[in-house]
């Protein structure tokens, strides 16, 4: 098997999901400088709602693609409502409070949403039903499944759609104006409450689709999944430069690729039997071409956070971020 090409394909798939989730973080941060830590949970609830719709409709008269579409169409408004309520109930009253207050509230909302999901869907992992045939295509010695193709295509379509919305429509211009200076935008007649609520709702809608993509790809969902997924997508947003849309997309894809490459090669790299110094100490394990791997691919989560640390140390504003002092 061609590990390199295969991991590129896998990395692009997970990276696309990270990118779509990262957009939710970066949009909200761009407009009100809040890290909405509950966004990962919104994605999780999207996956859970889709799971419920699919399991209750599967086996009925509806064709599988229609069921999947129904699941997505059901998950989107649920997540949009949660996104709206988060802003309205939890964050809006704290908009002029010191920045630490909404941040702590965000962490609290994340915990509350996760536990609401626990109460509704239970504590066991759910097998996300694979109701559509998933043919696999070979590219040289690597392969790509139709789920992977769909995820990549859908993500890129959503990213293009969002960019069009933000850069080409009047409301998008108003969003960017509000991000730059909420009070001056107010003088132009922009209702900041509306723009901020819309930012949350749009991010949540993208998150709902990301949740369904995640479930379809990994085949398993759990009420705690929003935490790690959210943290990784947040890392992706920081990597690209938080507040910057293109940065979130780039950061997400890059993070997915680094993670895939890392988990693809870490076993090979940390095989202690390849060096004479260490293999001489591990004679028993290394004989007959055996190996002693220090870190396996189960360490893949490390790479996202390793990258986050490296970015924070060497380029705190992110790859496409502006210098912080620019906001004068």
């Amino acid at each position: 098997m061609d590990i390199f090409l295969q991991q590129i394909i896998n990395g692009l798939t997970t990276g696309s999901v990270y990118a779509v989730v990262a957009l939710g973080y970066t949009m909200v941060y761009g407009v009100i400088q809040l890290i909405n830590f509950a966004h990962g949970e919104v994605v999780m609830i999207g996956a859970m709602v889709a799971f419920t719709v699919i399991t209750s409709l599967a086996g009925g008269a509806l064709p599988a693609p229609v069921i999947l579409l129904t699941a997505v169409v059901a998950a989107i408004p649920v997540c949009m409502t949660i996104g709206y309520l988060l802003e309205r109930i939890a964050y809006r009253p704290l908009r002029h409070a010191p920045r630490l207050a909404p941040l702590i509230t965000a962490i609290g909302m994340s915990i509350i949403l996760a536990h609401l999901a626990l109460m509704v869907w239970g504590r066991n992992p759910k097998a996300f039903p694979q109701i559509i045939a998933n043919p696999v295509f070979n590219i040289g010695e690597a392969s790509i499944s139709s789920v992977q193709i769909s995820i990549i295509l859908l993500s890129f379509t959503m990213m293009a759609g969002l960019s069009w919305f933000v850069y080409r429509t009047r409301f998008g211009i108003a969003m960017r104006a509000t991000a730059e200076d909420v009070r001056i935008a107010g003088l132009m007649g922009v209702n900041a409450d509306k723009v901020i609520a819309a930012t949350f709702v749009i991010g949540a809608a993208l998150g709902a689709v990301a949740g369904v993509m995640y479930g379809s790809y990994y085949g398993i969902i759990h009420y705690t999944m929003g935490f790690t997924l959210g943290l990784k997508a947040f890392s992706a947003a920081v990597l690209g430069g938080i507040g910057n849309l293109a940065g979130a997309m780039l950061g997400g894809l890059l993070l997915g690729l680094v993670e895939a490459m890392g988990s693809g090669y870490i076993g090979e790299i940390t095989d202690l039997c390849q060096w004479s110094l260490t293999s001489s100490m591990l004679v028993e394990q290394c004989k007959d071409g055996g190996n002693f791997v220090l870190f396996g691919s189960n360490y893949q989560d490390v790479f996202a956070f390793l990258m986050l640390i490296l970015v924070l140390v060497f380029r705190p504003s992110g790859l496409l971020g502006e210098r912080v002092s620019e906001r004068a």
Binding site: I173, R176, A177, R183, A185, G186, L187, M188, G189, V190
Partner: protein, 241 residues
């Protein structure tokens, strides 16, 4: 210049602004008639900008503000442009990361008449040809004077009845100041009522018909522009004599 009509477009009564426990504006009253161009003079820290921000509802104030006969003290700032009240803030307040065309689009954000908006953009570009050349550049790349022009052009996109201008000459080269004031005068000639805050008293009094002088949060002198130009106190304090 348009002959002032008798009805006041803007009326402030006992306006007070506090920042925490500190009073920045201590009960000022003034009025601006329809079609008039009035200036508010004063040194740094006299409370001029706070007064304007209170009028545009960017900060809270006590006392009464009446615009076109309606009390606007409690309204949120984003509804004022719909009523024809626009502010060009201190330091220009353009959206540096938006293009010049997008800044103008924002100026007309509350309007729905697409064809008229497009016509207004062309009108602004004819008045300010430097902006037309750089239509699709981000506004942060403009010089200070060009940014001030853009800020005024953006406010005009809202078709205001009353234009509040906060220190349009600040930080500009003398030649640019002259150009900005030319534009302001041509706006006034189109019938827009103007309330101008300026530190440059000589310049302001040359274009305005009346003026108020503000000192440490209070209005101390109120008179016609020619009288103020002749007033010994004004000459001593603001014209360096």
């Amino acid at each position: 210049m348009n002959k002032p009509e008798s009805s006041p477009l803007l009326d402030a009564l006992n306006l007070e602004v506090h920042y925490g426990g500190i009073a920045a504006v201590k009960g000022v009253s003034f009025s601006v008639m329809q079609g008039e161009m009035v200036c508010l003079l004063g040194a740094n820290g006299a409370g001029k900008t706070s007064t304007l921000k209170a009028l545009a509802r960017m900060i809270n104030s006590t006392g009464e503000i009446r615009y076109a006969g309606e009390k606007i003290n409690e309204l949120p700032s984003h509804v004022l442009i719909n009523k024809g009240l626009a502010l060009v803030p201190e330091g220009r307040g353009i959206f540096a990361r938006l293009t010049i065309a997008e800044n103008l689009t924002m100026g007309a954000y509350h309007r729905q008449d697409k064809a008229e908006i497009a016509a207004d953009v062309e009108r602004i570009f004819t008045m300010l040809p430097r902006l037309k050349e750089r239509e699709n550049q981000v506004a942060g790349t403009l010089s200070g004077g060009e940014q001030q022009m853009l800020a005024i052009g953006r406010a005009l996109m809202g078709r205001p009845k009353l234009l509040l201008l906060d220190e349009p000459s600040m930080g500009l080269a003398p030649i640019m100041v002259a150009k900005v004031f030319e534009v302001i005068q041509s706006v006034a000639a189109q019938g827009v009522t103007i309330f101008l805050v300026e530190q440059n008293a000589l310049l302001a009094l040359k274009v305005c018909s009346r003026g108020y002088v503000m000192e440490s949060g209070k209005i101390t002198i109120s008179d016609t522009a020619p009288n103020l130009l002749a007033d010994a106190r004004v000459r001593a304090a603001y014209l360096g004599e």
